[in-house]
Amino acid sequence: MGKVSMTVNGKAVSADVEPRTLLVEYIREHLRLTGTHVGCDTTQCGACTVHVDGQAMKSCTMLAVQAEGADIVTIEGLAKDGKLHPMQAAFKEHHGLQCGFCTPGMVMAGIDIRRRHPKADEKTVRHELEGNICRCTGYHNIVKAIMNAEV
């Protein structure tokens, strides 16, 4: 077991974890923040995407110990006082979700896309979403939401 400390959604957390504990396991099983989903467990689907020091990362791809000292934001950390983050609001407005399983990863990825490409066009957004799989929407409205979010 090894001790790991990080900030998750603005709160300092630390725990003894097995060195092989994945960041997503730490988030879901230890912190019980179940908004971050495991869709494929093989780094393909992106449902587990969180922000690590502001950058979108697939949390099933890194170990919890690799996030030592990092500032982590999960889907639960976006809305403030019941008010949706602009990216969340855009998904709602543009009907960018149906079952909602991929949505946390899509929203976290979307924020990072717009951070890096403030005026992202459709082609850019579609290319950037390569690592996030949705099986409901056909992506059309997800792309619209990410492009039009007032971030």
Binding site: L22, E25, E29, L33, T34, T61, Q88, L97, G100
Partner: protein, 149 residues
């Protein structure tokens, strides 16, 4: 009623899905909750010569094991066909036996063979991704989860 036609209808479920507050089956936690983990066939077609449950019981966190013998003993039938159709002569389609856990033979990669019950989801993953220790059937089966460490 007519006022709804042509107007946008806001989904009631979006807020919880967008804020990570949805509850999918994987998110449920109940007191004393246990977890089923299926040992699956690594072979496309193979006879099952024997099942060594003693080995499979040895892993940490294992509460129990079910094989097809348990299902039969409890008179739990196989998986049923959702609905049957008739052929052009009106004869019902043939619905072969489909035991929930493999009996005598597996017929595809991933066919469930044994069900192990664990105290925690992490334990179940670890038991199925650790190669050291006992050489149970579970160790030979492919696992859903592969650690990348």
């Amino acid at each position: 009623m007519s006022t709804e036609i042509g107007t946008r209808v806001r989904r009631k479920e979006d807020y919880r899905f967008l804020t990570g507050l949805g509850t999918y089956t994987d998110d449920i936690v109940r007191p004393g909750q246990t977890f089923a983990y299926f040992v699956r066939s690594p072979h496309a077609h193979a006879k099952i010569k024997s099942v060594d449950t003693a080995d499979a019981m040895a892993a940490r966190g294992v509460l129990g094991i079910f094989t097809v013998a348990d299902l039969e003993e409890d008179k739990i039938g196989g998986l049923i066909c959702g609905w049957t159709v008739t052929d052009r002569h009106g004869e019902p389609m043939k619905a072969p036996a489909h035991p929930a856990l493999a009996k005598d033979r597996v017929r595809y990669v991933g066919a469930p063979t044994i069900c192990r019950i664990f105290t925690s989801i992490l334990r179940s993953r670890r038991a199925h991704t650790t190669r050291s220790g006992s050489k149970g059937a579970a160790k030979r089966a492919p696992s859903r989860r592969r650690p990348r460490s």
